[in-house]
Amino acid sequence: MLFLQAIQWILDPEHWSEVNFQAGIAEELGDHLWLSFLAVVFTAAVALPIGLYIGHTGRGRGFAIVVANVVRAVPTLGLLSVLLLVSLTIPPAVFVFVLLGVPPLLAGAYAGLEAIDRQTIDASRAMGMTEWQILRRVELPLAAPLILGGLRGATLQIIASVTLVSNFGINSLGDFILGGLAANDYVQMTAGAILVTVLALLVDGLLAVLQRFATPRGVPRGRGASTARVRRLPVPNRAPVSEGN
């Protein structure tokens, strides 16, 4: 069976050092992770400040939605091929994947802040907290689950899309998929797909754990059953934030 053969292919120690005169699984995996990591870090560096600003002040939300949606319409493969012709190096590739990662994280950040009960914020302000303190000590912890949710979405998309750089001679797990396709070697192709999927799931799992720990006590975790239990006072709640599309 193809799936089992692919697993066997992955477990073959030879394939970890070299595959068809090219980098083996170990090197491709490392390069794939490194490129994804860089992209996620820069995504966070761009999207978090903007998202928190929008969420905290409520300013520029419409503008951000428009920009994020326009950016999402950019064809990643096409942009890669154009930018890598300028310089066949890592930075332009990272730039393209940052464009891919910013919309989900941006949305997570401002939606997370906007979803916080206004009365909580007003109470903090009434207690004499500065805007910065409100952001850091009230809004950020309360919005953490949604922000991390956005980060997970961005990370998942980046890890899956980094495979594209293999078209241009930059190492990634996509090399196995492309090489397998070109040589009619579906075992290798499936193995490449499995590797990408497992990597994405593992990283997503790690972030899920982080998300759990980042959730302050008393805040409902996602769609968990705890919602009913922690609802304290029948406050007039704002309607849930509607999303960009």
Partner: protein, 318 residues
Amino acid sequence: MSITRRGALGAAAVAAALTLGLAGCANSNTIGGGSSSSPASSGGATASGDAKSIVVGSANFGENEILGYIYGGALADKGYSVSYKPAIGARAAYLPALQNGEINLVPEYAGSLLSYLDKSANAKSGDAVKSGIDAKIGTLNAKALDFAEAADSDSLNVTASFAKEKGLTSIADLAKAGTVTLAANPEFATRPDGVKGLQSVYGLKNIKFKAINDGGGPTTLKALVSNQVQVADIYSTTPSIKQNKLVTLTDPKNLFASQQVVPIVSTSKATSDLESIVNGVSAKLTTADLLDLNTKASGSDKPDYQALAKAWLSEKGF
């Protein structure tokens, strides 16, 4: 994908769907004994039945697409109903599509076709290649028509400065160049006349491979001139070789076989009428034409491939 993903469930479901999608895709390709291939099958309209309706396929690089439009255009002029499946993919994708009737005609290159059909083939001259192909092509339910004079072979190229520095004129000279990285399409890694051929025919053990999936196009060129790779496989009719003063390494041991253009057509469609039309086109197709078409196609005004094919046909009096 939605903007936010609130739960682990959503993310996992997406990833799982992806896995299933990929696995399912690969599975469907192997059920048919590994012979059917998906890229061309999406259209669904297989062109069996009416002998006058032809589906022309082509490989995923410009020259071959133009050739597809040239042969298709000539047939359309003579009353055939022609549809196109351009840029299907690599040989391993479009030949199975021909075999199972999803496409009926595809412009091929003699040497590569032979080594696809017969892994142990070592015929290099035009005639030997032709008889080798004729002996094996039945397995594709297809027939090879006349070879055109036009040829477009793989060629290994280095930059002028690298050639001078290492004293390179032929592929054999690469032995003294230290470890070099070679860029080519991904299939070059497994092709018998790819890296394996460099090892067995030229005894080169110092070649590292880097797959760049653009058929010796702009990215490959970029990698070569920026010295990320030292050798690049670029088709011999590519204008960029001259434009960038690349040095094409000679191939004294004929690693790359004669690569004349040869249209291959499904047996069920190979009427004598069709053959004479296609052969008429091949008779007028020269290597200079290919270079000219490729130069135009890579020009700044980016003409449409089909328009280029039309222009060639009318220029040659079809």
